[in-house]
Every structure is written in structure tokens, then in C-alpha cells.
Amino acid sequence: MMSALMRAPGVALLAVALTFVPVAAKAFDIQRVISPGGIEAWLVEDHALPIVSARFLFPGGAATDPVGKEGLANMVSGLLDEGAGDLDSQAFQTRLADQSISISFNASLDGFSGRLKALTRNRAEAFDLLRLAVTAPRFDAQAVERIRDQILTGLAAGANNPNRIAQQTFREAVFGDHPYSRPVTGTPESVGAITETDLRTFVARRLARNALIVGVVGDVTAAELGALLDSTFGDLPERAEAFTIPQAEPGAAGEVIVVERDNPQSRVVFGHRGVARDDPDYYAALVLNHVLGGGSFTSRLYDEVREKRGLAYSVFSYLLPLENAALWMGGAGTENGAVAQSIELIRGQWANVQEFAISQDELDRAKANLIGSFGLRFDNTSSIAGTLVAVQFRDLGIDFLNRRNDLIEAVTLDDVRRVAERILDPAALTVVVVGKPEGLAATRTMTNGG
């Protein structure tokens, strides 16, 4: 994506404004800013506070980690702010702290992202530190070992976290040898194997201008941003190295995997194939999921498992459309003695929705909530900037925020029934249970340490 880089040195700044109307009367303008050097960013100017937030993303995250070096993208994300250019780790961190600048990075399966937040008076310095971080990270040995150890202690501290175990076991089960099965943070062995060369190679391959996606919100004009884009990202290599993640079809359908742990409550993660983000049925699936388990306190799963029977504190479902695989997932936590009953109820609701679909009234209420709540997230600079990046990453178009509620509104009962029939299948659910479940028929059981 983003393969066409507009290179027009000296060309005047181009800013196309689109007005987004989030709920009712109010609106904000999304400007497409192309810097003099040809770097694109989407901008929402907001001068109410002397704050600027920037979010950015390079496609290609942990799923591109080499075999045996799982956790590489994540380790890079912990090291870019640990020394860059002439500044060692403490010097770089002190510059950030003394000017109240926050810069951080994050690796997910599909992307490597970052965020910056600063006061207007420190804006130039903030973007300059970001420039150093992405173009001249030092990877000093002491910093590398410190961050490696932080990751290792984090892995040890999370080794018995029931939710983490359940999520990882689920992904390994459904994705097999596909890169999506691998843990974003790696394993003690793979993190131990990462070298300085690996870190530098990741940066050289992934962090490039043609891959860069930027969203900026706050106290900065289009002209000011244009200059900042060039000074910050202009020294990045022109092109990222191509990579391919194969399309994955989730497997392990119908399996019930128990990971034995001495906990009083069983943690459950379940799911099966989902709906891709660019599938025409995506919005119908979103509405259907809202009815099934997406509505916070009003979904069928919430009602049946928690409200009527008190079997769980949290029970929910959600769509997870990764770039190269789609899942329809959910989770719950129930005491060991009753978890089999919770899983039966979840399967029952899955079947009920599949067979009888949903009523017009349920559909209307789900749509009303999805439409009405959409604007609530746009109350702070960072979340608006994050949305600008997500819309670009998914290639949804600069007018998407205006169209999104219409896409929800257009979903009909027939659409929802079609999706239910096409996708939902209680027998295909892969279920992972971490704990000591009683009376549950497992297809596979893993004991502690195994």
C-alpha cells in the first residue's frame, strides 16, 4: 500500500480539506497535507490547547520477524528512544523529560507504529527527537541488554497470566506454522538470539518513506506540518523492502484445548474464521457481532452468561480482521466448576444467532448504538490522530469518517442473516481454556510446563 510516493520538490504545499461531521452539528476538517518533499500526512488542526499529537505507522510488524528471532519488531520498539544520534539513552530520555515530550513505539502483528505528544513550545524539539529516533537509533550495547532484560522479565512475569496463555495458545492452534501464530513479544530463546545487526536490519527494511502513514492533530498548521514532515522523515530511505505474509485460513476448528493451571477461575478464549476488513459484508458482521457479544451491557452473551446466571464478570465477542487472516473471537472467565456450562451457553447463542438470525428490533438497536457512539472517541488529540492512521492503513479513503455511519445504517436484516449463515458456526469454534475446568470434554490437554 501507499506505493505511489509523490515526489515534487519545491512544489507548494497541497492541502485538501474534508469536513467530518461526527455526531450532529459539529465538524472537523481533515486536511491531506503533502510536504514540499512529497511526504503525506492527514491533519486535523485544533488550536484550542497548545498541544500536538502525531501517530504514524509502517506496515510490516511482528509477523515479519525472522523465524528464531520472534520479538524483533517489539524489541526495536523498545529501543528507538534509548539513544539516537549524539544522544545516549539517558541524554535522549532527559531531553524528552525536561520538555514534557512523550515519544513511544509499538509493534503489532501487522505494523510498527509510534506516537508523539508535545506542547506547542516544544514542538520543534519533539519532532527533531523523533527524527533522530527513526533515522539514527544507536542500539548501544548497554541499552540493548537493558531492554532485552526488561522484555525477558516481562515474559517471565506474564508466563502464568491466564489471558496471555489463552491468547497465545489460541493463535498457535488456529494458525499452525503461519507467522500469525508467533508471539509478538517473542520467547526467552528468540529474544536472547536477537543481535544488534538484526535490530538495524529491521529498521533499514521497514522504516521507509513509501511505507509511512502519518496522522497529526492539534496546534499546528498545514504549512508548519509540511516542514516538520520533511525535517523528521525526509532522511528515511525511499523504499521499504517488500514482504509477503501468506493468507491464512484459521484451522483447529472444533477443538477444545485445556491448558492446566492451578487457578480458581478458568479463562476462556474462543473463535473461528471471521470477515476481512475489505469484505463487503464487514459492516453487516460488525452489526451482527454487536448483537451477539459486542454491545457492552446489552449483548446476548452478556445477557445469557452474566446477567441471567452470574457465570462471568466479563463475556464478549469481537471481530479481529488482520491483514492476512480474519477471526471472529470472544472471551470469558468462569470458575472451574461452571466453565463447561458457560461454554455451552456461548455455543448455544452462537447457534441461536446462526439459525434464527436476529429481530428487526435488535438490528435497529445495534445500529443505533454503533452509529451514535462513533463520535465519542474523537474527544482527544491522540485518539483522533490514531483514527487518521487507521483509516489510511486500511485504505478506506479520506471521506470514510463521513461515510462510516451510512455504511452501518445500510445494513439490513437480510445482510445480517447472510453473514450469520456464511460465517457463524458453533461447531467450528476453537475453544482454549486455561485453568482446571471440571466436566469439560477436551480434545487436547496441556499440563504446566508442557
Binding site: V23, A159, N160, R306, R365, A368
Partner: protein, 454 residues
């Protein structure tokens, strides 16, 4: 104690208050510039205007929490918070949530030792209806055994999720119980499991009838609203609820602590040791509270991020810990704690790290802080007040927590000035006062004995 429990789904957890520092504009003393009113029945009203997006956060805070529960009945405040989402005389169970959902709103609630709060975030045109519904459940709640029994199971599952499934949480609970001999901050907000099991409908109703009243509540409205309109709506809704005679909040006072306490927990589910020590400390409104602002700066100087003294010395320079820091919760209604913590690097003994941390504390007490450290910490804290204005819900939570815990709007608004006024000598005096090992409780989490990972 700012451990907040949300009544609903885990995925809707609130930000911990610790990350929402009160805020300030560098040029003026004002932080949030709220408009305040008081209704005839004694209900306090605070309006924070923010016209960035057509969104409003509507919150009602009750000045009652887990530390106000009768002895032997821990968990009532939080249990009741869950039950507030059931029905009233006028509304069927779940109807309130259904209405919020249909109008595209979000809602939740939370309980701490000192307060209980309820909120909805929604388009401003629905504010009046939210007030009507919230005012209705201030006095109209209907509880039956059919309603409370499934919810008791939900809360026990919540306790398993948060606490019993997690050795770190179990240790925190034991450490809190050891930190306070007499004061109810010793009790977990969610309650002890055996006491949750024993709570009766009468216990819950009595707590509700005693504490839920307009003169014990604070209304906070933040977002795209006009203060006069908010006042008009508040009068039409909350204004019609009658005030009650409120009992005093009886909080048993801690006796002097004369010796250090330590809780060492070994658990087969632990792979990575953890260590923390908390010292009894004043809050903004309790104990020797003239130290509170100096202690906030001390916490920033020794524990702030990766440039604080503790991180720099034991993580970066000595390579003993993977991470380390300090915390301080000045917002509690009663005596609070100042804490230090670390997570040892792999293969480094806990005692070696503790020794290095104690050296840093001894050095601090002997030599004090520098003027440069203070200047930089002040700047960061004062700047954080500007960042805190960058949302609709954050300012509402800061003001609500402050007002429900004994502070005033003027206290919050003058926070930057008070931070600015702190001197090096005051920070040094506060450090010498708080770092008294005889007033400390240490918590250590270890793998089971004989495990090679110790």
C-alpha cells in the same frame, strides 16, 4: 487509595487516576476553569466546558466507598454499585443501560475506598435524560433476591479474575491488610470472598438508604455544554430529590506504627519476583498534609519515568533491576502511602537490589535533592496539567475524585501554584519525614522455595 473497580466488563476499564494528574495552565493559576453551583438540596454541581466535539460526560460521585462499610461486611459499596444497574420503581431492570445503548452512549461505574461514581458519555442533547435516569436511581432502586443473587456470583467471578487468579493481586491485598492495623484501607475494595458471600439484601439496602442522597453527591458535567443549561436541567431532575440526614464518615484512626512489617508470599504461579515497600504518608487532607505537594515532587524526582533517581541508579547505572520506580497517592481522604518498587533483573537476588535502593534512599536523606532536580520536576508536573485538559472525561474524573475526597475546586485549581511554591528544603524535610522504616510495610513476591528460579 485509588484502586478503582468498574462494575461492568473488563474491556471498559477506566484509566487509573494516578495517570490523571491535576492540571494547570502555566500562565495562570486556573486549571479546568469550572463553573460551580449548589442545588437547594445540597448537591454540588461542577461544569467543565469543552467544545472540541459534540460529546458530554455526565458523572455522579457519592462520597461513600469501601472504607465506609460496617465492620465485617466488606464489599457492600462495590456490590451496590453493580446493583445500581438493575431497576427502580420507575424503570425495569436493565432499562437504563438499554436507553444509553440505544442513544449511542457509553456508561460505567467505579468504586474506591473513598467514593463511588457513575457516568455516561453521550451526545449532549441526551444530557437531560441521563440526569433524569441518574436522579431516579439515587432513591428509587428496587432490590429482590432474584436480582441480587446472580450479581453476587458475578462479583465473585470478578474477584477471581482480578485477585485470586493473580498472585500479585493476592500479595497487594495482604500488604494492604498489613499496612493498616485499624483503618479500613486495610480491606480490599471488592471485599473478602467470605464476606461477599454473607452480605444480605438488608445490608445492601441499608447502605444505599444511608448514603445515597443529593447532599452526599457531586454532579460533574464535562464537554460541549452550557453551564446555565446544565444548572436548569439539574434543578429539574436532581433538584427534586430530597436531602437526607447523613451520618459522619467514621474512619478508625491508625495507631502509631512502631516497627517495620514485611509480607513474603511464595506462589507456584510466580516466575518473576517483585518487591515493593510503602511508607505511611500524609495526603492532601490527612496527616501532616503540609508535606503533600513536596511529596508529589519527591515522587517525580526519585520515581519519574526513566530519568528518576531510582531508575537511573539501579536499572541503568548498576544494572540490578529490570525496572523500578516510586508512587504516591495524595488524593486519599485518609492517611495514604508513599511507595518504592522494583522488578529484579534475571539472576539478580532481590536482597541485592533492595540494598542498592536503600542506599539511594539513605543518600537522599543525607544529601537532599538539588535545585536543578526540583526545577525540572516542577516543569513536568505543571505541564502535565495542560495535557490533562486534552479529553472530556479526564478533567471530570480529576475534579470528581478531589471533591469526593475532601478537597475543594479551589484546591484543584491552585495545584500548579502550590507545586510551583515548593522549595528544596520542603522536599528534603518531606523525604526525611516519610522515609522512616518503622512506618513501612514491605511486600515480596517469590517463586516457591526450592524452585531454581529464586
Amino acid at each position: 487509595m485509588t484502586w478503582n473497580l468498574c462494575s461492568r466488563a473488563l474491556r471498559a476499564l477506566l484509566l487509573p487516576l494516578a495517570f490523571l494528574l491535576p492540571i494547570a495552565n502555566t500562565a495562570h493559576a486556573q486549571v479546568f476553569n469550572p463553573t460551580t453551583f449548589e442545588l437547594d438540596n445540597g448537591m454540588q454541581v461542577v461544569v467543565i466546558e469543552n467544545h472540541r466535539a459534540p460529546v458530554v460526560t455526565h458523572m455522579v460521585w457519592y462520597k461513600v466507598g469501601a472504607a465506609d462499610e460496617p465492620a465485617g461486611k466488606s464489599g457492600i459499596a462495590h456490590y451496590l454499585e453493580h446493583l445500581m444497574f438493575k431497576g427502580t420503581d420507575a424503570r425495569a431492570p436493565g432499562e437504563f443501560s438499554e436507553i444509553v445503548a440505544n442513544l449511542g452512549g457509553r456508561e460505567n461505574a467505579f468504586t474506591s475506598h473513598d467514593y463511588t461514581g457513575y457516568f455516561q458519555t453521550i451526545a449532549p442533547r441526551h444530557l437531560g435524560l441521563m440526569m433524569e435516569l441518574e436522579a431516579d436511581r439515587m432513591t428509587g432502586l428496587v432490590l429482590t433476591d432474584e436480582i441480587i443473587e446472580p450479581e453476587r456470583r458475578v462479583i465473585l467471578e470478578e474477584r477471581r479474575s482480578r485477585t485470586e487468579n493473580n498472585p500479585r493481586s493476592l500479595l497487594s491485598e495482604q500488604v494492604a491488610a498489613a499496612t493498616y492495623l485499624n483503618h479500613p484501607y486495610r480491606l480490599p475494595v471488592i471485599g473478602w470472598a467470605h464476606e461477599i458471600e454473607g452480605l444480605s439484601r438488608a445490608d445492601l439496602e441499608s447502605f444505599y438508604e444511608t448514603w445515597y442522597a443529593p447532599n452526599n453527591a457531586i454532579l460533574i458535567v464535562s464537554g460541549d455544554v452550557d453551564p446555565d443549561e446544565v444548572l436548569r436541567l439539574a434543578r429539574e431532575t436532581y433538584g427534586k430529590v430530597e436531602a437526607k440526614a447523613l451520618p459522619p464518615r467514621l474512619r478508625p484512626v491508625e495507631p502509631p506504627q512502631l516497627a517495620p512489617r514485611e509480607v513474603v508470599m511464595r506462589d507456584a504461579r510466580v516466575d518473576q519476583p517483585a518487591w515493593s515497600r510503602r511508607y505511611l504518608a500524609p495526603s492532601y487532607v490527612a496527616g501532616d498534609n503540609e508535606h503533600a505537594y513536596a511529596l508529589e515532587l519527591l515522587s517525580e524526582i526519585i520515581g519519574g519515568g526513566t530519568t528518576g533517581r531510582i531508575y537511573r541508579s539501579i536499572v541503568v547505572d548498576q544494572s540490578l533491576a529490570a525496572s523500578a520506580g516510586a508512587w504516591y497517592s495524595p488524593g486519599d481522604l485518609d492517611l495514604t502511602t508513599f511507595g518504592v518498587w522494583f522488578s529484579p533483573r534475571q539472576g539478580v537476588a532481590v536482597d541485592a537490589v533492595r540494598g542498592a535502593l536503600d542506599e539511594q534512599i539513605a543518600k537522599l536523606i543525607k544529601d537532599g535533592i538539588t535545585a536543578d532536580e526540583l526545577k525540572r520536576a516542577k516543569l513536568r508536573l505543571i505541564d502535565s496539567a495542560i495535557f490533562a485538559r486534552d479529553s472530556v472525561g479526564g478533567p471530570a474524573r480529576v475534579l470528581g475524585a478531589a471533591l469526593a475526597s475532601g478537597q475543594t475546586v479551589a484546591d484543584v485549581e491552585s495545584w500548579p501554584d502550590r507545586i510551583r511554591a515548593v522549595t528544596v528544603e520542603q522536599v528534603d524535610a518531606a523525604a526525611r519525614e516519610v522515609f522512616n522504616v518503622n512506618r513501612s510495610t514491605t511486600g515480596v513476591l517469590l517463586p516457591v522455595e526450592g524452585d531454581s528460579r529464586t
